[in-house]
Symmetry: C2
Subunit: 243 residues, 2 copies
């Protein structure tokens, strides 16, 4: 993996090798984590370039005018937006497909994910100072989680015995909810008796592709505190020698 | 077509025939227009149920918890969100495909559409009372339109000789820009010398699937004025006998 340290304004773009799939990433970004899990699950050879999203390199904007991650660069093509990146990888590497073949069932997966995404802004309200806002956010997330528990049903994963796109799409926020437990002082899965989702989280966290993208709770907390103070740190936890 | 009049709170749900593709629609909704064009372009037999989005029927929320259109109902499956509906129809009815087969080129189409969608909120600022807001919106839309003109290149359509998903995805706002010309007092395509897009608009408006979804300029204007006054009318232009 090249470029562990988050590259910032003024840093040179690591030399592009068109035949190597490259992902522009931010280590604490839940959207980018989706794409990293898909890359790892499908065992797609790739390299990662981490970027600093406060002091963005010019070459990031040349790839994505919105200056966001994930961005994929491969064979002189640029793809951005996490859902588009993930679908692209799924179509390019057909082994271990992440959608059902049936168009009805595939559309159903995509509806589940689109509905989940409308909850995401509430997630970031969990750490706002306004208590009413926090309580509303907790309520919205709880409702969405109840709906996900029904969707999961008796399956090991959302995709049944094997994960599908829903699993990788929703997981990053579960990891962060666990990290936030100690400061928001509640456990949404436990309080709502969502036992199936609790077991699912334990199960998905055993997959290599998930383990390799996970960050320790303490690093997530440090990142969130930085974010709340408008000074997020992108290199938390990196060995000094590699920074 | 059943239910020309927009059905509102208290109106009964027209009897569902699972084997008939049904689309829940609002006649002036640009997102729903996308899906109607795809249905017509691919010659998919279907029926349309128009809904009143100020006084929404309970059965709309039972289909889409966000109470928005388009919603598709077919074979006891529900699909919502315009992009998901359109992709679903494209996969279910494989004739006249709306994406390139190559995953790189398909992902490129989806990136173009995602970028365009970020301009959409600016479109609704064109009719705000605040002049600075209007000027900013005009600037944002102009930039996006310049980028689309480059994307179109020398093609008859974004898909080349035949339309693809980009054509149907972006068209509804062109129809509305034309309708708004008289009140916003500018012509974004003309002012920016976007001649290829002007020709493209004339060309796409000759397609049957587009003609059948178009509304006269006067009806669009009446709808926008209603929207600005928080009292949109959903049955503009319908013959009295059918209302």
């Amino acid at each position: 993996m090249i470029g562990l340290r988050a590259l910032a304004t003024g840093d040179a773009l690591p030399q592009v090798k068109p035949e190597v799939m490259r992902m522009y990433n931010m280590r604490f970004c839940p959207f980018a984590q989706r794409t990293r899990m898909v890359l790892l699950y499908k065992e797609i050879p790739h390299e990662v370039v981490n970027v600093n999203l406060r002091r963005k390199p010019k070459w990031l904007f040349e790839r994505n005018p919105f200056g966001l991650v994930p961005v994929l660069e491969y064979n002189n093509e640029i793809v951005y937006e996490s859902s588009i990146c993930d679908d692209y990888l799924d179509e390019l590497y057909v082994e271990r497909p992440l959608y059902p073949k049936d168009p009805h069932r595939k559309a159903h997966c995509r509806v589940v994910m689109a509905k989940y995404d409308k909850m995401v802004p509430s997630f970031y309200k969990l750490i706002k100072p306004d208590e009413n806002l926090r309580l509303q956010a907790k309520e919205t997330i709880s409702e969405e989680m109840k709906s996900l528990e029904i969707e999961l049903g008796d399956g090991a994963f959302f995709g049944g015995p094997q994960p599908n796109m829903i699993d990788f799409h929703v997981y990053p926020w579960f990891e962060r909810l666990t990290a936030l437990k100690s400061i928001v002082e509640f456990d949404i899965l436990q309080e709502n008796n969502l036992h199936r989702l609790q077991l699912w989280q334990k199960r998905i966290e055993k997959l290599t592709c998930v383990k390799e993208t996970m960050q320790p709770k303490e690093w997530h907390l440090e990142f969130f505190i930085g974010l709340a103070n408008k000074n997020p740190q992108y290199d938390i936890g990196l060995p000094q020698s590699k920074v």
